[in-house]
Structure formats: structure tokens, C-alpha cells
């Protein structure tokens, strides 16, 4: 597929998504709309890992560290300021700084893939342990009590920018969440077309060659990692806005595993794949939850195993290849048909000439 065809498909997809977000509240009831709001905030999280893993080659087993830090940063700031506007900024800044520190430590130490996985996983566990043990009154930031394993209830949700009295209704929250999802997708697409994005992909492809051409792979990976942390933090704020609650289970390993499952299913190395995988799996889990006959771990585990072994590319790339090869087949058939006709004519001419 040529670049222009790719671009037009992407623009069409974004337009469809915008229309879907705009029209959704008219077609579903409030409960479903809330569900979709949750899915969309999780899809932002999926995009953050989809970007750093699929395009930066950084497999982070603890993306929830940034998600959780963003959520806590939002909650603490929102309770203290009473206004969600600076709180959302905090939800982006705090995890970014954390990612910067962690990334510097990891990438400048030339730590390989496996060890990166170990370290990010371990950091998430540390955060879980730390936030779990903040039950006492001494763990208070400003007027916000961290609350240990009980978490922080009744966190103020989003309001109109700089207007704490203008609290958003659930429909508005949906518009904001869906809008952020689309904006992050478009932003990442643009970034990938930019110089930095292309260099990032080059570093993923071949770190040695990138260095021999004068690019510093450590710097490139660090910025990709920090950006992923920022997006995950933003997703954390959206998540708290949905539930008005944050607790230490946000750092749970099971959520980290789930993000990875979304990406494996949707397709690594695409941006739309993680979003698709996220919506599919969350819908599936919510269905299982309401039926109670199956354990969701069982289904999720089985899906992950099956995809890694049998469909390692994931749904979106597999479908895309199918469609493309179908398209080529049609094109080939047409070309062959035309050639056959020309041959017939050519063969026919001498006969006619005789």
C-alpha cells in the first residue's frame, strides 16, 4: 500500500472515531457509556505501552507504575487544589519525571531487554508495597491522605478548566476521555512521521547501526520511554476521573499483564492494534464478570498463550495482511485478465492477417 493510501485510511479511521465518540451518548444508556469511558481511558494506557514497545522496542513489564503514579498524582493534587486543571498536569509531570529518572538509570547502564523487564516489574512491586503501607495519618500530602490499602475515596472528578464549580457530567467525561484517546493517537501518528519518530524506529530496528550513523540510542530510547510514561500518567488521571477513586491495586501485576495481552492480541508495532485489543479484552472481561461461570484469569491466560504461539503478529496486522493480499489478488487477476486479452488479440491478429 502506498503512503498516500495508508494516510487516507488513517485519516478516515480518525474521522469515523470522532463521529463515533460524538454520537455515542445518543445510542447507549448511562451505564454503558460509563463502561466505554473506562475502556477508553484504559485504551490510552494501551497506546502508551504500544508506542514504547512497538516503536521504541522497550518492553516494559511495569507500565502500570506510571499509570498508578499518574492516578495518585492526580488524586493528591485534585484534593489539595480543588481544581482538576493543575491536577491533570501533575498526572503527566510526575510520571514523566519518574520515567526520566528510571530511564536514565536503565538506558545509560546499557541494560538489556530481559533486565529491563525485571527492573520495571520490580519497580511496580515496590510502588505497590509502598502505597499499600501508607495507611497511617503521617502519610498525608497537604490535605490528601494516601489511605494505604484502602486507597483514596471521593477524589474530585474533572471540572471545566479553571472552574472548580463546573463539574463534568458523565457524558462530558466521555467526550473528554474519547477525545483524549483520539488526540493521543493522532499525536503519536504525527510523531512517528517526524524526524524523531523515524529515528526512534531506526533505533528499534538496529541499535548498532543507528549509533554508527551518529545517533545516540540511549537518548532516543530515554525520550520514548518518558513520553510513554507521560501518556500512561494521563491515562491514570482519566481513570480516576471515571471512578473517583484510586488504590494501590492500580499497581497490581495483573493489570500490567493485561496491558501486554491487549497489545499481543491487537498487534505489536501498530497504534490501532493496542486500542482494538484493549476494547475487545475489556468487553470480554466485563461479560465474564457478569456471568461468573468462568474465571477471567483462565480466559485471559489462554488467550495470551494462544496468541503468542499461533498468532504472534496479533489481529490488526494479520487482518491487514489478509486484506492487502486479497487486494493484490484482485489486482493481479485484473492485470492477468487484461494481459490474456492482449495475448488473444496478438495471437488473433496473424490469423486474421492470413
Amino acid at each position: 500500500m502506498s503512503d498516500t493510501a495508508k494516510l487516507s485510511v488513517q485519516i478516515a479511521a480518525v474521522l469515523v472515531a470522532c463521529i463515533a465518540v460524538a454520537l455515542m451518548p445518543g445510542y447507549v444508556d448511562l451505564f454503558q457509556l460509563m463502561q466505554f469511558t473506562l475502556f477508553a481511558s484504559m485504551a490510552v494506557l494501551a497506546l502508551s505501552l504500544g508506542f514504547i514497545w512497538g516503536f521504541g522496542g522497550i518492553l516494559c513489564f511495569g507500565q502500570t507504575a506510571f499509570f498508578g503514579l499518574g492516578a495518585y498524582a492526580y488524586a493528591v493534587a485534585a484534593i489539595n487544589f480543588g481544581d482538576s486543571t493543575p491536577a491533570i498536569l501533575m498526572a503527566i509531570i510526575v510520571p514523566s519525571l519518574f520515567a526520566l529518572a528510571l530511564g536514565y538509570f536503565v538506558f545509560y547502564g546499557r541494560i538489556s531487554d530481559v533486565y529491563l523487564g525485571v527492573i520495571t516489574l520490580t519497580v511496580t512491586l515496590i510502588l505497590f508495597n509502598v502505597f499499600n503501607s501508607t495507611a497511617g495519618d503521617e502519610y498525608t500530602i497537604g490535605v490528601a491522605r494516601l489511605g494505604g490499602f484502602n486507597g483514596m475515596p471521593a477524589v474530585p472528578t474533572f471540572n471545566m478548566p479553571f472552574d472548580p464549580s463546573g463539574i463534568l457530567f458523565p457524558e462530558h467525561s466521555w467526550y473528554v476521555t474519547g477525545g483524549v484517546l483520539i488526540a493521543v493517537y493522532v499525536g503519536l501518528r504525527l510523531l512517528l512521521r517526524s524526524r524523531f519518530g523515524r529515528v526512534a524506529v531506526a533505533v528499534r530496528e538496529n541499535e548498532t547501526r543507528a549509533a554508527l550513523l551518529g545517533y545516540d540510542p540511549r537518548v532516543v530510547k530515554l525520550w520514548v520511554f518518558v513520553l510513554g510514561g507521560a501518556i500512561a500518567g494521563l491515562a491514570g488521571a482519566l481513570y480516576v476521573n471515571w471512578g473517583a477513586f484510586v488504590g494501590p491495586t492500580i499497581f497490581a501485576l495483573s493489570l500490567s499483564a493485561e496491558i501486554i495481552i491487549w497489545i499481543c492480541i491487537g498487534g505489536l508495532g501498530t497504534l490501532i492494534g493496542p486500542v482494538v485489543g484493549c476494547f475487545l479484552i475489556q468487553y470480554l472481561v466485563s461479560q465474564i464478570g457478569s456471568q461468573q461461570s468462568f474465571n477471567s484469569n483462565l480466559i485471559l491466560g489462554a488467550i495470551l498463550v494462544v496468541f503468542v504461539v499461533l498468532l504472534p503478529k496479533g489481529l490488526v496486522p494479520t487482518l491487514r495482511n489478509l486484506i492487502l493480499s486479497g487486494w493484490h489478488l484482485v489486482g493481479d487477476a485484473r492485470r492477468k485478465g487484461a494481459e490474456a486479452k492482449r495475448n488473444d488479440l496478438a495471437a488473433g491478429q496473424p490469423v486474421g492477417a492470413e
Binding site: G109, T122, L125, N129, S133, L253, N295, V305, V308, V309
Partner: protein
Amino acid sequence: MDLAALLALNVINGAASLFLLCLGLAIIFGMMRIINLAHGEFVMLGAYAAVLSANAGVNIWIAMLVVAPLFVGLVGLLVERCLVRFLYGRLVDSMLATWGLSLLIIGIVTTIFGNTMQGVPTPLGGFSIGDYRTSWYTLFLLAVAIVMMAIVYAVLRYTRYGLIARAVMQNPDMAAVLGVNPTHVYMATFSLGAAVTGLAGGVLAPVSGITPVMGGAYVAKAFITVVGGGAAIISGTLSASGLFGFVNQLGAYFTTPVYGEVILFLSAIVLIRLLPQGISGRFFKGTV
């Protein structure tokens, strides 16, 4: 003085438990370069096997020391044949697939046995150090760790299997030339690693809370200890679990058990940063 003795005992106990927990993972990682993220669930299965058979009337010692490793060894064999053998040489995929496997095992166990389970009482009773009471079982765990270390060392160092296994892991093609079937070696090694892990689960069952998600608490600890230890199975795991067990218990004593864990994790991260090849890669090159 009594307090110091108790603290020393706790440190030794922490290191011994960590060593037992890691040994199976270290065998699989060190020899096959596969990271088994379902390791915690193998521990859990060992504990379940021990508890279920003990509750069904099997002698507790047999349940822990025979049933648990046998059962988990068989599970390991099954897993190697059905899953892991497709993933050799694909490190990241093997991590993902075994992570999926861990969820799957948790799901199956939860579906069958529910969310909690009646444990077994700790055998052997206790003894006193001055004013402090502690249990004989602590010393039993230490003994098991020492015996396991000796057995694994002997197997790797002195048996034909150990020699072949080390050869295959160094160079699979070469081993095939020598007339050894690498498939069998991988199969045996994975099962052995699983069985050792099952034994750890069995002997830790009386001192742990038995739930389907208990593995989660072990996998990260085992994982960082093995990576921190490096490629050498015995010397690496022993040194790393000794160091981390020491740091953990000391941290727990001076702060809280939660921060003891945090200190363990932090020191592991720093260690991996300073010694990317692990302790054994730096200090015990060429040992097993």
C-alpha cells in the same frame, strides 16, 4: 545476645527460603535461557499438591517431599511439550507465553478450589532462644536447602546427564553431533527445574497462606534473585539469595516487613545495574 542469635537465624532462614524458591528458576534460566514467568504458579501448585494430599491422609513429609515435586515435575513436562518447546530462542515470546500460562494456572486452580484453602499446621513444634521462641521448621528449611544444593551440584557436576546438559546448553548443534538428542535434554531440564520448584512449594506450604495467587509474591523475588545471581546455577543463586535474604531480613527488622521487601527490590535493581552479568558473571566465572 539472644536477639542477635534470633536475627541470625532469621537471616539464614530468609536466605534458605529464597534459595529454595529460586533454584528451579535458576536451573531453567541458566541452562535453557528461558524465563519462566509461571514460576510462582509452579510454587503454588507444589503447595496445593502437598496440602491436598496431606489433607487426604498422606503423611505430611511424603506429601511435601515426594508428592509435590513429582506432581509439579509432571506439570513441567506437560508444559515443556505443549508450550515451551515452540519458544526456544525467542526470549521475549517465552516470557509472554509463560506469563499467559501463569494466569491460566491461577484461573484453573481458582475455578476448582475457590479463592482460599485450609492450610496444614507447621510440623515439628518450636524451641526457645532465651526469651524468644522460634520453630524447628526453620532449621528444617535450612537443611532442605543444603541438601537440594548438594544434590543439584552433584547431578550437574558428576553425572552423565549433567555433563550432557551443560554441553547442550553451551552448543546444541555440537551435542547433536555427539549423538545426544537436545530435545530430550531440554525436556528433562525443564521438568527437573519444575520438580525442584514444586518441592520448594511443598516445604513452604506449612508456613505460607495457601491461595491461587500466592505465586505472585514469589515470582518477582525469584526472578530478580536469579538475574542478580547470573548464569551460574549454584554459586550465582547461592550468593544472590544469601545477599538478598540478608538485606531483606535486616531491613525488615529495622523498619517493617513491607520496607524489608522494598529494600530487597531496590538493592536488586542497583545490583543489576552495577553487575549486568550478575554476581556469578563477575566473581565466579566458569562455576556451576
